[in-house]
Symmetry: C2
Subunit: 779 residues, 2 copies
């Protein structure tokens, strides 16, 4: 095996070493006063308790699903029982990624609060380093896991084989189990964490801010610890598992398609790596992306005398992000041209392309990712037209605020979808379906940096909570608020990025699925496929319905518990009685674990039912429907939620509606709080789950593809023949058919040869007179 | 030409005669007191002013679009310039249908109010007769127009031709212009009317009920006339044009597919009608449906001593509706078996079926329609779980009420989509694509009755308004309120029915499009087609965004005008100064006309751009995306809106939340009013526009299909050849390929013949050795 194979996990290892070093640095920082340590311990304990409970539930799932997978793999010659081990490895590493993230976040939060007692620079350093630990940890684990497992599988199933052999196909098929494991844990972590955090947040707000009139994060509010735990389990652990899953799925989809890339002569590429270069490329780009992300983190710093400036913090993060992106864009040019065979035409399913095309596709991917972030920011940022329109509509009450937000959310789908469609089309033009996949891999290359920027937000948010609960001076909270505000913006743009990458990844998985299922396409003009399209498109609606309802119901339970504590614990409102924080933590924990099962189950089971009962082409229609509707619902909900949030925040500094100034506690502000509360489950529970939902369903389909194809082979065969006949009839009816057929025969001699070889059979069956009479009739 | 052709318009004529007789009966009723006449004149004048203004805008559109269509038809040999005339005829009749409906509604409203001074039985008779006039008028015009035009076109283009000839294809292609005309007017009427009615409604409520504290329909409120005008232009004229368009589109789609139905020998059916029986069938069913709907109207009556019972009114309407449906179900059995050739296998694009299968598909259609109504009723009815869950969530405020309603709306898509998918699949199994189309034609057969039931609601609503404004005794309002409440339920179920029929019709149009575009299918696995799917699915989101925003903005303008009048007209609040009703009418009129152009334009122009630039297969992907997402968004918005409305209405009699009773003016009630206001544009503007949107885009595509196919013929040809090659490769890689290919060759001798005829060319090009070496490689 070429040494290059070992470079991939080695790059991942560098990421992990960085993680360990930085993690130690964070732990070495001063956690501050006793009161701070005490509160941060509450939060850390609550978070750990949730994670333990969550992982216990998932353990059952992993064991059962693993056994079923093993049986399926065992009974199909294109797969192997060890797909179960691969699945368990993916699930374990995904859970570990979430764990690492939460572990560091619950250390970094209190240390950020303490650093904020000194300077903003220091606070940024601690919180962003916390985020980086998570970013490098998640991506490092993914690259090591995927790269290492691939080596093991190749050695087991295909030692020394060429890339386009059945043995390698089998190794990759087993590898899909890894992605399935990662993505299933991601779904449960994201949905469970999303329900947890919003139930606590909405519950704490409704009864604390609205009913009791005490400020946010007030230690007298029994739900306040649960609220801060929620930031960690939803925004940190949930997101970590989510991006781990996305990252793995993207790389894997590109590998599956890369396996099908051949030379023009129809055999493996002569690339010096036994034709493996298109398979190795996405892994190498991912590994290199970790290094560039590490370099990018060094740009993220502000000067000691920067003052209390949101803009400077944002600029520092942007510098880091752009640094990583530009380095990746430059480096991939060399990686692509060095790895892929030079001046050689590659072919994937009839589309030819060169290494320049592949690089072009990567640039398209980076462009799509950037544009998505910019557009998302426009629709959710303060001071821009969309948020201002919601503010204006808050002037006439709750209802018009809601109408305004819903309209913004729906409208916000237009530009991203056009960018996405153009990206699909453009990357396809560059390098066929491999281009679409590699575009998404390029976009995801800087995931480590994205994740660092994303995870820094909830750490800062938590730091603010700890400062408040520890009754630190206002200037501390001021500094953490600056970090938190920047975190809100990066959270919104991160979601735009996530949904775009999910869409491209799903398309790549979709293409991989068609290849593995051995069908000629997904024809939605077939009634059963169209029915599948409808069912698929409905799934994101029903999934969202269950997710947001879960938040609503869990929040109501939280409200009742807090009301009970206010009523029954003596001296609680005077700060003398200690609230029973753990009871609220338990409510959020139980509710989220119970209520994540139904939506999660739908996501896992529905493609199984459709696939096994109706076959791969209907399942393809189902996937397309789910992907399209999931992308739209994701954008709609994320952006509506983000816009509502910032419309509410705008009231803090005062807003002008029809020439009159309005501030907090005014009627328009109350209307804006309604919008924000509606937006909470939209943007933090159901919206961000959409991208996992569509990827998970695609991966489930990919994993079962060989089995369902075998089951439905007679139908598939019949359809292929029918299709062939239809196409023939259409070609026959065309004007100038003879000249065209001639040309086709010249170009596709072997198809014609097949028919000519069987000529005798035909002559017996029908006279040429009969053929000609039918032929002249037209279709 | 067989006499049967003339039966179709004759049946329509019976409908029109019924319309005239009943219309005279309504006009002969007593309009009551002078005050009532005065107010009803205000409403009638306002409505007529809007219709005039609206039709003036549409006139420009019809002239311009007509000229473009004429040019397109002239330049394509499969079409003809007279498609422009066909388009104008469709547009004119659609507008006329709306006009007739509004004319009768503005007469029936005041007479219903007057009848309610005597008895409920009388009031029901007047209002339902008004509705029936509209129902029979709309369907009568549609059947006469379509049937008559078809005769004229056949006589012009294809006198004496067999059904499967190019001449008949051309006549049907020209006929699609009629449907395009009808559906474009429907879109503008529905959107314009929807914006008008909700701007007036929301505006009148916000400033009247909330700010000034005066009851609904109070004559002191300047917006109250506009509100009542809105019921007529939105719920009557808009809906009339809408259902006219749906009805025509459904019949037409079935005719297009019927034209492709052949005998097993590949030539026209030997049915005694030159093969026209599958084309005539949908028109005859529609014509017969009018007669059964007329019979059904005689069931709709209650006894004089029925008391003030909502249930009895509902039961009377149900009896009429069920009567019409059952009669249709029975009669179509005889029509189908008498018209279609007995014991003959018919073939459409490779699928065989018999007349029994066709009848089965009609039953599937009727079943789907009924189930959709039942499910919709469940999700929006008072006292059922969904509405009760919203009521409970109103207990914790505006935000949870909104979350609850959104969750109900999203959840409500599940069962209808499953029913729809099963309907698509089931009707396809019965009779192929013709089955899908005829299922939708069967479902639409009783449109006249549906429309009568639907239109009676706004008439009763208006009657209540007139009673209130004329200060008639409370018992009058009590009677009209009963009719109004029943009208609300029928409105919700009618929408469920409309979206289901639109989905089936769109699929039929979609199938017709594939045939006319001469492509082999719509393969969403192609990157460009998938990009089209994304863009298409985004259209309903952006359309909804513009529609609901238009309502929000027009309502705000209305609020400001009413505030101005309250401020500047002396004595207005004491009932001494006369409000300037016409100013408010003008605001709604102008706003709706201006704001309907953008969404309407998107619907018309986007399929043109996609089709002309990217060709028919991408346009097919676009249509599929738009259909799926439009159906889901339509259900989501209609049902959320309906559920919010009834959650609010439940407070009138008092509701129990956590053991406590809440009534009007309580905090939970206020939260429910917020939900209702958000739901208004959902359920009356954007939601019901979805079904026109998807049908209109399908028809636009059908009309341009021959032209874009010609433009993109080289690409289509290349794709067909590529596909043929792909299929060949897949077949080649299959196990037991030789036996299977042999069997295929036996069954499809002429495909093979084509290849063998060209054998010499091939032999020159490649040696068989080369072929064999490639052939053994696998795919």
């Amino acid at each position: 095996m070429n040494n290059l194979f070992y470079v991939v996990p080695a790059l991942g290892l560098i990421g992990l070493i960085f993680t360990i070093i930085k993690s130690r640095w964070v732990a070495a920082q001063d956690p501050g006063l006793d009161r701070m340590k005490e509160i941060s311990k509450y939060i850390a304990d609550g978070a750990m308790a949730f994670l333990k409970a969550e992982y216990r539930v998932m353990l059952y799932f992993v064991v059962i699903a693993g056994i079923l997978l093993g049986i399926m793999g065992y009974s199909n010659s294109s797969s192997h029982w060890s797909i179960a081990l691969s699945f368990v490895a993916g699930a374990f590493l995904s859970a570990l990624a979430g764990f690492i993230g939460m572990r560091i976040a619950t250390k970094a939060n209190v240390r950020t609060a303490n650093a904020a007692r000194t300077s903003l620079k220091k606070a940024l350093a601690v919180s962003f380093t916390g985020g980086s630990v998570m970013g490098m940890g998640v991506t490092g684990l993914a690259v090591i896991g995927l790269g290492g497992l691939f080596i093991v599988l190749l050695m087991t199933f295909a030692p020394g084989a060429l890339s386009d052999t059945q043995e390698v196909a089998r190794a990759i098929e087993v590898l899909t189990g890894f992605s399935l494991g990662a993505e299933s844990i991601a779904l449960f972590a994201r949905v469970g964490g999303g329900i947890y955090t919003k139930a606590a947040d909405v519950g704490a707000d409704l009864v604390g801010k609205v009913e009791a009139g005490i400020p946010e994060d007030d230690p007298r509010n029994p739900a306040t610890i649960a609220d801060n735990v929620g930031d960690n389990v939803g925004d940190v652990a949930g997101m970590g598992a989510d991006l781990f899953g996305s990252y793995v799925a993207t790389i894997l989809a590109t590998m599956v398609l890369g396996h099908e890339v051949l030379g023009t002569n129809g055999v493996s590429l002569a690339d010096g790596y036994s034709g493996f270069s298109p398979i190795l490329l996405p892994m190498l780009i991912a590994g290199a992306g970790i290094i560039f992300s590490i370099i990018g983190t060094f740009f993220v710093t502000i000067s000691e005398n920067a003052g209390l400036s949101t803009a400077k913090v944002q600029a520092a993060l942007n510098k880091g992000n752009w640094g990583a992106i530009i380095l990746t864009a430059i480096a991939t040019y060399f990686i692509v041209n060095w790895l892929l065979p030079k001046d050689t035409t590659m072919v994937l399913r009839g589309t030819s392309f060169t290494s320049n095309g592949v690089y072009g596709a990567i640039l398209v991917g980076l462009g799509v990712g950037t544009l998505m972030s910019v557009i998302t920011e426009y629709f959710t940022a303060m001071g821009k037209r969309p948020v201002k329109s919601i503010i204006r509509q808050s002037g006439t009450g709750h209802a018009t605020n809601i109408i305004g937000g819903l309209a913004v959310g729906m409208e916000s789908t237009m530009l991203p979808v056009i960018v996405l469609a153009a990206g699909i089309y453009g990357s396809f033009l560059c390098a066929g379906l491999y281009g679409v996949a590699i575009a998404s891999a390029g976009m995801m290359a800087t995931t480590a940096m994205q994740l660092a920027i994303d995870a820094f937000g909830p750490i800062a948010d938590n730091a603010g909570g700890i400062a408040e609960m520890s009754e630190l001076p206002g200037e501390v909270r001021e500094k953490t608020d600056i970090l938190d505000a920047v975190g809100n913006t990066t959270a919104a743009t991160g979601k735009g990025f996530a949904i775009a990458s999910a869409a491209l990844t799903s398309l790549a998985l979709f293409a991989a699925f068609v290849g593995i299922a051995k069908i000629d396409g997904i024809d939605i003009y077939r009634a059963d496929v169209l029915a599948g399209l409808f069912i698929g498109a409905m799934i994101p609606f029903i999934f969202s319905a269950f997710a947001i309802r879960a938040v609503g119901e869990a929040a109501m339970a939280m409200v009742e518990e807090v009301r009970r504590q206010f009523r029954t614990i003596p001296g609680i409102m005077e700060g003398k009685g200690t609230p029973e924080y753990d009871k609220c933590v338990a409510i959020s924990t139980n509710a989220s674990l119970k209520k994540m099962l139904l939506p999660g189950g739908i996501a896992l089971v529905s493609p199984l039912i459709i696939g096994f009962v109706f076959g791969p082409e209907v399942l393809g229609g189902f996937l397309a429907g789910a992907t399209v509707s999931g992308v739209l619902m994701g954008m709609f909900q994320n952006n509506a939620g983000g816009a509502w949030d910032n419309a509410k925040k705008s009231f803090e500094k005062g807003v002008e509606i029809n020439g009159e100034m309005h501030y907090k506690k005014s009627d328009p502000h109350k209307a804006s709080v309604t919008g924000d509360t509606v937006g909470d489950p939209f943007k933090d529970t159901s919206g961000p789950s959409m991208n996992i939902l569509i990827k998970l369903m695609s991966i489930v389909s990919l994993v079962i593809a060989p089995t369902i194809t075998k089951m439905h082979s007679a139908d598939i065969h019949k359809n292929l023949l029918q299709k062939q006949e239809d196409i023939h009839n259409l070609l026959k009816a065309e004007p100038n058919q003879d000249a065209r057929i001639n040309q086709f025969l010249l170009e596709n001699a072997d198809t014609a040869a097949m028919f000519t070889l069987h000529r005798p059979t035909l002559i017996e069956k029908r006279s040429s007179k009969e053929f000609l009479s039918k032929n002249q009739m037209g279709s």
